[in-house]
Homo-oligomer: 211 residues x 2
């Protein structure tokens, strides 16, 4: 269509996105981890405006690595955006089509441990007003120790902490990372409900006292 008639002010067709009307989208920035796009939109209520979206290039993956003695592995690192030191479960950026394989790789890289048993624990969206970031977390057990292989952007510390203590760190705010908080709290609730894999419930001591 080279000559579409009277309305020259709307050169491109607008697209529906839920209750929004999207008139235009321009990429603002891109690096290997994020991509920023600004959309020209009409909001659900009819007001015109913009919507800036932070697209995450990777899936957030993580796990609760459970040692046979009931301790879990925590990783400590300085987090650049907040400029704070943070103790967390092993987490990282993974492939959307291979969450578990990505979590296995992150666990190995950050702690050196390899887990023979995996179980899907958490799926969630991390900051859905501004980003499209999705997270998938696992329980990991039957662990074998090896050598950590952090990538070139990481400087990591490792702690082995009894599960109940890690949960208390999440409940008390000593662990502030939301992904870690949710994984630890959900594991506890599932344990109390008798809904954990049998071996995990046994290691963590849920079977005797609950259900």
């Amino acid at each position: 269509m080279t000559d579409s008639g009277a309305d020259q002010a709307t050169p491109k067709p607008s697209v529906r996105r839920g209750p929004w009307l999207v008139h235009d989208a321009r990429e603002i920035y891109r690096n290997p981890w994020i991509r920023i796009t600004e959309h020209a939109v009409t909001h659900p209520t009819g007001a015109d405006g913009i919507y800036g979206v932070v697209h995450l290039q990777n899936l957030a993956v993580g796990c609760v690595p459970i040692l046979d003695n009931g301790s879990v592995l925590l990783v400590g690192q300085h987090r650049f955006p907040l400029d704070v030191y943070s103790w967390e479960l092993p987490e990282g950026g993974g492939a959307f089509d291979d969450p578990q394989g990505s979590a296995e790789r992150e666990l190995k890289e950050e702690t050196g441990y390899v887990a023979a048993s995996w179980w899907p624990l958490v799926e969630m969206d991390l900051s859905n007003a501004v980003t499209d970031e999705r997270a998938v977390g696992f329980l990991a057990w039957d662990l074998t120790e090896g050598v950590a292989e952090p990538d070139e952007t990481e400087e990591l510390a490792l702690r082995r902490v009894p599960f109940a203590e890690a949960l208390d760190m999440a409940m008390g705010g000593e662990i502030r990372d939301s992904f870690s908080q949710t994984m630890l709290m959900k594991a506890d609730i599932l344990g109390r409900r008798g809904a954990l894999p049998g071996r995990v419930a046994e290691i963590l001591g849920y079977q005797k006292s609950e259900t």
Copy 2:
């Protein structure tokens, strides 16, 4: 210093940020909700690279609004970044120096309800590898119904759901928003531990069966 000598290749002094060395920072983008900055850095391991940070202009605030009959208020809306419909607790962007006042305003705007009683429940960092987003969540009770006042970017639905059902929605992934998942799960764990405010424990039925 107009003539600093031999090394003309490093015009600005570098700054330490934890284990990083920051050589430069340039603002890429800014809107009322986010600001993107790309930093030229030396990583903790000595490799040179970049670090793109998404700065959130507002504090994420939210609450678990608990009705006298034990139901909680959930808000439904289409989330633009993921292009999905999402049921969540009332949440929004607030002021860093007034988390509770901001959560009160969001509750009123999104649901019309006003809560006479508030209690700090959750503090967490939402996506600390890429953003500096912080979230503060509350329990809210002694609710009075009023008229919702959504802002011009919002089109919202409202549901009243028994707390146990909302928790199951979070545990089962029907509620995917991480902030909502954490608030619901933490309230449950505190309830089982006998650590909720007395009136909330009574409304939600924790006191009789646990502790």
